[in-house]
């Protein structure tokens, strides 16, 4: 192949999962508009790169009819401006630049702004607000951690390079032999593909993570735990004591936790117990905890929403300023209760992933979607934009699960606009229609 049909992009970033590996070497077939090789990608990354080529799709669909992006922008702006409780959701699979515009629109129209965090590590964020967190970037784990505990996750299948690039086999400055210099512990209710990677596997009884974590906290603090803990949790006191001894005596410990804690009975209590455990251990040694994030830029969404509003997700602007309300302004609730009367869904597919009552309501209201692919949500949308894919076609900034910001290097151009471009068009049009930011009717009632 000649030079103008093949492009090699080095140091590209994979945004399929929160590992956000930036060492991709992509070979692009420019004629076919697709990535033919993705060196360094894991199996998920390879699929991500392979499957995001350019498909022949209309730029937009309005009520199922083909339309231009500009027409879509007009229709979308009208929907948002005419709604009384418009909501914006998604945002974890797009750039920070696009996320910022989405928050600006929500502020302008006095709408509701929420991200997929609310159904992912939202509870961890709530726990963080209550307890705090001792954490570190992944490079600290690579260079220093000699004890790594995975709790409630299956990295082998969901974050493969978490093992290989960052936390288990990776060789580091003070962990020169990589795997050999580490003890790996896995805690889960069932055996998964990750289990063989661990030196120690704790198979906990379902719905008992909180009790196990609390027992560990007690043991760390030198308190007595009754042996009946085994009956309750499936883990014997001896195993817990052994784990505590290892945690206290390690050089640098890391607790990486997933949805097994947040999507489970206890939710933020589980996450809070884990974060508190890591904090407690700092009396004895250096110990960090980190939530393992699922989507490529959900951490970016947390960061953008936090710096622009003060709160990480579940934000409502209807009173003229940001209000934070998990359970009240989080999207599953807002939809399940039927509060929303319009929705803009950006790079997400809630009609696939949400509980039924939420999906039913989504079908009753005008929906705007921005997505590179057809999804169940885009199929029920009033206005469905086709967008380019971030990281593959569109440049921008993303944040890795540990808050490290990375600049994307797109592989090839797409005829479709990116999320930022469409959202900017919508913002401009909404601004024209409203004559500026919408002010709440009763501006004297700024009571909380």
């Amino acid at each position: 192949m000649s030079e103008d049909t093949v492009r090699v992009v080095s140091d590209a970033t994979c945004t399929f999962c929160g590992c956000v590996c930036d060492d991709m070497v992509l070979t692009v077939d420019l004629q076919q508009h697709k990535i033919t090789k993705s060196q360094n990608a894991c199996v998920l990354g390879k699929a991500w790169f392979k499957e995001h080529s350019i498909e022949e799709r209309p730029f937009a669909l309005i009520g199922g009819r083909e339309a231009s992006t500009e027409e879509g922008i007009e229709a979308a702006a009208q929907i948002l401006v005419n709604a009384r409780f418009p909501i914006i959701y998604g945002l974890s699979d797009t750039t920070c630049e696009a996320q910022r515009v989405a928050v600006a629109i929500a502020d302008m129209i006095g709408g509701n702004l929420d991200t997929t965090t609310s159904v992912c590590h939202g509870p961890s964020g709530i726990a963080f607000q209550g307890v705090g967190e001792s954490t570190a970037t992944l490079g600290e784990i690579k260079n220093r951690a000699d004890l790594v505990i995975f709790w409630g996750g299956n990295p082998a299948e969901a974050h493969p390079r978490l093992f290989t690039r960052y936390a288990v086999t990776a060789k580091g400055m003070h962990v020169p032999q990589g795997r050999k210099d580490r003890t790996v512990v896995l805690v889960d209710v069932r055996r998964t593909a990750s289990t063989p990677v661990a030196d120690i596997f704790l198979q906990v009884k379902p719905r008992s993570d909180f009790e196990v974590l609390w027992a560990l906290r007690a043991l760390v603090k030198g308190k007595r735990v009754d042996p009946s803990i085994e009956q309750r949790t499936g883990i014997s006191l001896a195993v817990l004591e052994d784990l505590v001894a290892r945690m206290k005596s390690c050089q640098f410990g890391a607790l990486l936790f997933g949805m097994g804690l947040t999507m489970n009975r206890g939710r933020h209590f589980n996450a809070g117990a884990l974060l508190a455990l890591a904090t407690d251990l700092n009396e004895f040694t250096h110990f960090v905890a980190a939530p393992v994030r699922g989507h490529g830029n959900v951490t970016g969404a947390d960061n953008v929403v936090s710096w622009q509003t003060g709160y990480p997700f579940g934000v409502n602007f209807s009173r003229g300023f940001p209000r934070f309300g998990p359970g009240e302004f989080t999207t599953v609730d807002v939809l399940s209760r039927g509060d929303a009367d319009a929705a803009m869904i950006i790079a997400s597919d809630p009609a696939s992933n949400f509980p039924q009552p939420a999906i039913e309501h989504l079908k009753r209201i005008p929906v705007i979607t921005l997505d590179p692919k057809t999804t169940i949500t885009s199929q029920l949308a009033q206005v469905a934009f086709t967008t380019s894919t971030y990281g593959i076609n569109t440049p921008g900034t993303v944040y890795r699960m540990d808050n490290v910001p990375i600049t994307l290097r797109p592989a090839f151009e797409s005829p479709y606009p990116g999320d930022e471009q469409i959202l900017t068009g919508i913002r401009t049009r909404v601004h024209e229609l409203l004559g500026g930011n919408r002010l709440p009717v009763d501006t004297s009632a700024a009571s909380l």
């Binding site: 209710v189 009240e328 989080t330 599953v332 509980p355 039924q356």
Partner: protein
């Protein structure tokens, strides 16, 4: 005769790769309509791999195809399925004021599908 079991939803490698191909694609629908079940439980219910089962909760129901797992991997009374439209049907909208609906450790009822059922 319906039995009570515990369902865990989660990610899997196949679900992740199929997701990239497209959520309306056959591969994704296939992966997300499979439920892993303990081998002993399957034997007791007279099920084999690919047998159809109906799973339901107060939130909704789904008909899935089963896949057998050893007890050492998946204890009796426990089910695993990859996240997707069918697993979502089983969630209720109640987030207990947290924003997060439960999708792991759901109490479900399960029974084999005898005649040609829903897909």
């Amino acid at each position: 005769m319906a039995e009570k079991m515990l369902l865990i939803g989660g990610r899997s490698s196949k679900q992740g790769t199929a997701l990239c191909a497209g959520k309306l694609g056959e591969e994704y629908l296939d992966v997300t309509s499979t439920v892993e079940m303990n081998a002993e439980d399957m034997a007791r219910l007279g099920l084999q791999n690919e047998s159809r089962v109906r799973v339901w909760t107060p939130g909704g129901e789904a008909v899935l195809r089963c896949k057998s797992r050893e007890t050492k991997d998946l204890p009796p009374g426990m089910l695993f399925m990859a996240y997707g439209p069918l697993s979502s049907r089983l969630m209720t909208g109640d987030t207990a004021g947290s924003g997060m609906p439960l999708s792991k450790n759901l109490d479900v009822e399960i029974e084999p599908v005898r005649d040609g059922g829903l897909t």
